[in-house]
Amino acid sequence: MMGNPRETILNLALVLLLAAIPLVATGMGEPFYVTLATRMAILALAAVGLNFLLGLGGLVSFGHAAFFGIGGYVAGIAATHAFNAEPLLFGLPGTNQMIVIWLAAVLLCGLAALAIGVISLRTSGVYFIMITLAFAQMIYYFAISWPAYGGEDGLSIYVRNGFPGVNTLNGLHFFYLCFGLLLAALAVFSVLRNSRFGAALEASRQNQQRLAAVGIAPFRVKLVAFAISGMITGLAGALFADLNRFVSPSMLSWHMSGELIVLIILGGTGRLFGPVAGAMVYVLFEFYLGGVTERWQFFLGLILLGVVLFARGGVVGLIAGKARHG
């Protein structure tokens, strides 16, 4: 929101830093760091989606891997059919065009989120966490047992999908494509948060009884938020599959859902750039600590414990102070 200059400066710094990493890396002839930065951008995008639901709406979905994975499989399946020149559905061909894939992923994830949301949003608290987990696990096991698209082994994308005017095979170009989508998602997040819908959603987190008492039914607000959230995370999934040129059931697993929650807590729950800060810190840990020890997640756990105990606002909260709500 307006009026926190420190947060604005931090946000700008994060944007510039993330944008600069691949440039510097390319200059130094270290293409691996470009991939690392792309991973940061895509995970951040996925977490922006979850942050909308969890940060603004206070709804802890432990099943967002469902949307991340569905997005990934849309990219994988479409590319496979295009590569083999086999029709996909109702005689429609596959495609290797990212724009089409993104639209399909967003649409499908929106529908899936509506279906999952209609049922899970009737519960709250721990039950909501468990039922969203259950739905994601259903889709996970479905993917494992579906041999047509690789089952447990996953599905390879032989050539990264294309985007008009961009050479997506070039890591730097692909990074800026993902980075651009991340910025767009952040803009959407910010506009939505400041809108009337955002006010209703934030009020549903703070006090549902109050929201109902002014005449706004909390269920509809939360359902729409759930759909928007799933759509953003699904888009990130499609990009993630294209980054790795591979999609497997692990994108749908509960570890992934947990990772997204961890990102948000690390970065700052409900803060615009929380997911970005969280994803950058997380991927750095994963890489550097992962290089030192296989048990890097133990140390991540310690850090997470520290954040939860001593820095509830995550990285953004630590640097920029408490959130203001106008």
Partner: protein
Amino acid sequence: MAEPILDIRNLNKSFGALKATDNVSLDLRPGEIHALIGPNGAGKSTLIHQIAGSLRPGSGTIRFLGRDIGALGVPERTRLGLGRTFQISSLAPDYSALRNVMLAVQARQGTSFRFVKAVMRDRSLRDPALEALERVGLAERAHVSAAELSHGERRQLEIAIALALGSKAFLLDEPMAGMGPEGSKALTTFLDGLRAEAPILLVEHDMDAVFALADRISVLVYGRVIATGTVEEIRHNPDVRQAYLGEEG
């Protein structure tokens, strides 16, 4: 006599063997303050919950503006014009007083599914919200978060929200609770004027306020209305004296 705004007939609600609401009938007429009093545990809150829609009655009818609202939920009843305040303030704590009222304004306009325009720059939300805050004397505290408001100020904010909703009847659940004598006095004056705008069903323990304000009083004891009448009638009703007022001297 004018058609009642709110008309409750033969309402019953039991929790197990306990009859919390026992064949209650009462109405609220245009321009009046109808006070609902009774000792603790008499079932006042249960009754308010049923009127507001957060609790389903066991049997009986609730008509509001001539319409049976028994099957409607809380949001629908609010949109019809039933504005309530809570016994224990229920607000969005992170939001400023202004934003709390702005939420009511947008709800009244039915525009919560607009996704683009920023609320803080939206005069069609801010102006009515500020006006409501001004009416309850909270304009200077508009930008303080609800969590940081004093207890009494939160009570005022609850009323500002009900005002901003453009309510056609007010359901005020102990608006004076926990307020100092100054605050109670100011609120009494305010409510006195408010009845011309919309009638008030007032649940209140502050007997000075009740006797100063009420056009009619209903006395609830063990879930039953044992008497309804003017202040004078209630003061001299032997049953009421015995059941309720007598205990307080």
